[in-house]
Structure formats: structure tokens, C-alpha cells
């Protein structure tokens, strides 16, 4: 087979007509060439209108400050799933999946408050011992001197275990959680898709719901409500009367939110340190730098490339007129490389002075609930890698996910020196 001629995306992005740029094309993430297009947009069309794409017309907000301004204006820029929710592709109305990330106040606020205590500082302290022992066991079980896939053996394994703990989900079935998460985010245009159609997605969601209904029914009748997420939903005032569809929506939200994002940060971190040996040397010499290295990993990966909003009224972003009903993507992945806010943004630097100044968790009322939990898992992972002084060698560049939403790594071949 002949390989297609390599395209020089840096040159292409510089020279193509602005209105032909479509940053929602999943291929530019799979090929890891997205940065060229956003660099051009930030400079020449920071709030950009793509009038023609397979998912219809949409606006792109690419500068850090404009993204924050859009996020805090939640009265005008709605997250509601009734209008299309938080991803650019509109799903058929009858397949609407209500979840609080895709709701506006007051419903959003009521439901978020139910879930939030699971990741309170006190609860995180309780979790941390368990997370550490599981990470230790997983690292000790890895082969030495042999090539294996870090994504499967470490990133998926650890985040799957974490999710099972949050839900108090039967531990032996935890890969089901990973599968449901992957089905939920599969782009149907992906040549490697897990499912063929929305009907099939609905079928898998049906299995997921049936499983979770069983757990709900067990827990709703428990005399002592447990501290897990399902018990919280089953007993919480704002959630206990949810329809099954709404329960499913919130379960999917927590599975995807707590899974993909942390998984891809774990995979990304190994690749970033491999590519930046001087940064790893700094960390090895001074493990206290993990405090700033962890947020830098999360900025540099940007596990969710964007969130979508829909304009409820005519408005303005960065001087451009947005019309009622327009779709807007806030590209965190671009804002995190905005040279006006972050110095030397294309470099991975683990001792930045203000490392938490990034958009990966979003801002405003939808700002990630699980941010500290995500950080905690990454921190403990690297503490335990350092404690063992594992020399992880990446043997092939990462394979990347076909998606403009989940910025993911699907395979990372590594070898740990014996």
C-alpha cells in the first residue's frame, strides 16, 4: 500500500482561506496537527465562523479571555441539552440525554449540589490511601523489559478502578464502565468506531441503564445510605425522583467525566516526560515539583478540547455579533496555548509560576466537579513512579483518538527498563 503524501499542515493552515478552516474535523486531532489551525485563528480570526461543516455552522472562540467571558455569561450562552447541549453535533431530539453538565440553572445547580460532596476535600483524603495502594499494585504488576500498552495496562485500569470505587460498582465488572464511556463518546464517523449507529448506541445505553437501575434499587432501600455516587443520587432530594433517562444521563456524565479525562492525562503525562527529558530530570531531582507539574500536564493535554454553548439571544463575543440560536465552541485546547496569557504556551514546563491558570477544567458554574480528584490521581501515580524510579521508555509515538471533543490517546507503547 502507498502511504498518502504527507500534508504540510503548518503551511496549509497559514495559507488556506479563513472561511475554509474547520477545527471540528476529528482528523486534525487524530493526526495531532490541530495546533497549526488554532494558531492561525487566534491571530487572524479569534472568534471564527465556520459556515459549512458536516455538523453545520458554528462559531469558534479561540482566545483565553474570550472563552472565560463566554463561560461566565451563562444566562446568554446556554448548556441546555434541549438546544443541543455541550457538543457540536446535535443529537436527534428523541435521543436527548439530560445530565447536569447540559442543564442551565436552577436545575443544574440543584443536581450538582447532590453530587459534589463525593469529591469534597474530606472525602478525597479518605480516598487517597486506597488510590495509592491500587496504583502501587498496578505498577508492581507491569512487565519489565517488555513492550506493553500503557493506555490499557495503566491509564484505563486505574481510572476504571477509581470509577468502580466512586459508584461502589462491582469491581470485577469495571471494564464495562470503560466500555460504556467509550461508546458514549464514539464519533460515528470514526473508522475505528465501536458502534455503527445511534440505535446501537441506544442499545448499549439500555444495558448500562439496566445495570445501574439494579444498583439503584439495591441502594434506595438500604437502611444506611452509602457514601457512593449512586446512593447519593438515589437519596438526594433533587435527584431521587429523576426519570430513568435522566438517571442514565447523569451516570453517563460521571462515567465519561471521571474516566476519559483522567485516563488521557495519565497517558499524555508519560509521553510529555518522554519528549521533555530535561523536565523529567527536574522532577526526579525535586519531586515537590509535582504540585505544579500536575496542572501543567492537564493544561498541556487539555483532555476535553471544547465545550459548546448555544446563544439564547443576540450577543457579542470579542467584537463579533452572535445571533440567537447560534452554536459556539469554546476551544479550551486553543485558549491553553494562547500566547497573550500563557508564556511560551507550546512548551511543557513543569515549574510554571501560575500552573493552575489554564482552561482544561472550564470556568464558571460548570467548572469541573472532579478537578481535584483528577489531579490527585495523577499526583499519586507520579509519586509512586518516582518512588520506584521506573525508567519508562516510549517505543512508538502515541496513537490518537478520532474526536474533536475528547482529546485522547488510544495506544502508547512503552517499555520499562528492567
Amino acid at each position: 500500500m502507498n502511504a498518502p503524501p504527507a500534508i504540510d499542515h503548518a503551511a496549509l493552515a497559514e495559507n488556506m482561506p479563513l472561511d475554509e478552516i474547520n477545527v471540528s474535523d476529528p482528523k486534525i486531532y487524530q493526526q495531532d496537527v490541530w495546533m497549526h489551525y488554532f494558531r492561525r485563528l487566534r491571530r487572524d480570526a479569534p472568534v471564527h465562523y465556520c459556515k459549512d461543516s458536516p455538523i453545520g455552522p458554528f462559531w469558534s472562540v479561540t482566545k483565553y479571555k474570550d472563552i472565560v467571558a463566554t463561560e461566565v455569561n451563562h444566562k446568554v450562552f446556554s448548556s441546555s441539552s434541549a438546544l443541543g447541549g455541550i457538543t457540536l453535533r446535535d443529537r436527534p431530539a428523541e435521543l436527548e440525554l439530560p445530565m447536569f453538565i447540559a442543564m442551565d440553572p436552577p436545575r443544574h445547580d440543584d443536581q450538582r449540589k447532590i453530587v459534589q460532596p463525593i469529591v469534597s476535600p474530606a472525602n478525597l483524603e479518605n480516598f487517597s490511601g486506597l488510590i495509592r495502594s491500587r496504583i502501587a499494585r498496578t505498577l508492581d504488576s507491569l512487565p519489565r523489559g517488555e513492550v506493553f500498552d500503557w493506555v490499557d495496562r495503566v491509564s484505563i485500569e486505574l481510572t476504571g478502578q477509581m470509577l468502580a470505587t466512586l459508584f461502589d460498582f462491582p469491581f470485577e465488572d469495571r471494564r464495562k464502565l470503560t466500555y460504556w464511556s467509550d461508546v458514549a463518546t464514539t464519533d460515528l464517523a470514526n473508522p475505528d468506531r465501536l458502534i455503527e449507529s445511534e440505535e446501537e448506541r441506544e442499545k448499549v445505553f439500555g444495558e448500562c441503564l439496566a445495570y445501574f437501575m439494579r444498583l439503584w434499587n439495591e441502594r434506595v432501600n438500604a437502611k444506611e445510605p452509602g457514601g457512593d455516587l449512586i446512593s447519593m443520587l438515589a437519596h438526594g432530594q433533587a435527584t431521587r425522583d429523576m426519570s430513568p433517562r435522566e438517571y442514565l444521563g447523569n451516570v453517563v456524565l460521571l462515567i465519561v467525566g471521571g474516566n476519559d479525562t483522567t485516563r488521557n492525562s495519565m497517558s499524555g503525562s508519560v509521553w510529555f516526560f518522554d519528549q521533555n527529558p530535561q523536565e523529567y530530570a527536574k522532577l526526579r531531582a525535586n519531586p515537590a515539583l509535582l504540585e505544579s507539574a500536575v496542572p501543567e500536564i492537564i493544561r498541556y493535554q487539555t483532555p476535553l478540547s471544547y465545550m459548546r454553548r448555544t446563544a439564547l439571544a443576540d450577543a457579542e463575543i470579542g467584537g463579533r455579533k452572535i445571533r440567537k440560536g447560534d452554536k459556539i465552541a469554546m476551544w479550551y485546547i486553543s485558549g491553553n496555548r494562547d500566547e497573550d496569557v500563557i508564556e511560551d504556551p507550546d512548551r511543557f514546563i513543569i515549574d510554571r509560576p501560575r500552573p493552575r491558570q489554564h482552561l482544561s477544567f472550564g470556568f464558571g458554574i460548570h467548572r469541573c466537579v472532579g478537578n481535584r480528584l483528577g489531579e490527585l490521581q495523577l499526583k499519586i501515580l507520579w509519586e509512586e513512579i518516582l518512588a520506584r524510579d521506573l525508567k519508562i521508555e516510549v517505543v512508538a509515538p502515541p496513537k490518537r483518538l478520532f474526536s474533536s471533543f475528547v482529546h485522547g490517546i488510544t495506544q502508547l507503547q512503552v517499555r520499562i527498563q528492567p
Partner: protein
């Protein structure tokens, strides 16, 4: 210049100058007061600049905006005297303001 006292969770006190018109958050960050993260840089969008305002001063502050109230609703350990320090502007009347810091910003 108005002075603001930050009382850390362990009781340690720090008194700093807060230029009129600047926010209490900025006064903390400019003086490296630990315990104020201010991830969003003062846009009322992250709630990591959370403080508990000393009761004696509460009445002297302008009421929180709707956005601030929304963000405070999700803060861990939110209390009636919770405020986001990026939304408190230093004024002459606030000279001597005392705010207490939570154990951690979440």
C-alpha cells in the same frame, strides 16, 4: 492605604496593603499570601479565592452579585459569611478588614 488581615486556617495572621480599587484577592496574590489560589485571575469564575469575612465587617460589604452567589453555592464549606475575595474592592471604609481563609481552596 487600606490594610487587610488574612487569617490562615491555622490561625497565622498576615496584614497587607490593599490599594484602593484593587480587589482583596489581588492584595493577597501581590503579597504572596498563601491560601488564595485565584485560578481564574479574578473573573468570578473559579471560586478558588474563597474567604470567610469577619462578622464585624460583613455589613460594610456590597451584596454579592448573582454570579458570585452562584459560584459560592458550589463552594466546599460555604457559609453565610463566605465571599469571593476577587469580588471585594478595597475602599477607605474597609481599612482594617479581617478575612479568614478556608483549609484549602477546592
Amino acid at each position: 492605604m487600606p490594610r487587610v488581615t488574612f487569617v490562615a486556617h491555622d490561625g497565622t495572621q498576615r496584614e497587607v496593603d490593599a490599594p484602593v480599587g484593587e480587589s482583596v484577592m489581588r492584595a493577597a496574590v501581590l503579597n504572596n499570601v498563601p491560601g488564595i489560589d485565584a485560578d481564574c485571575g479574578g473573573e468570578c469564575a473559579c471560586a478558588t479565592c474563597h474567604v470567610y469575612v469577619d462578622e464585624a465587617w460583613l455589613g460594610k460589604l456590597a451584596a454579592p452579585s448573582e454570579m458570585e452567589a452562584s459560584m459560592l453555592a458550589f463552594v466546599d464549606g460555604s457559609q453565610p459569611n463566605s465571599r469571593l475575595s476577587c469580588q471585594i474592592k478595597a475602599t477607605a471604609e474597609l481599612d482594617g478588614l479581617v478575612v479568614n481563609l478556608p483549609k484549602s481552596q477546592h
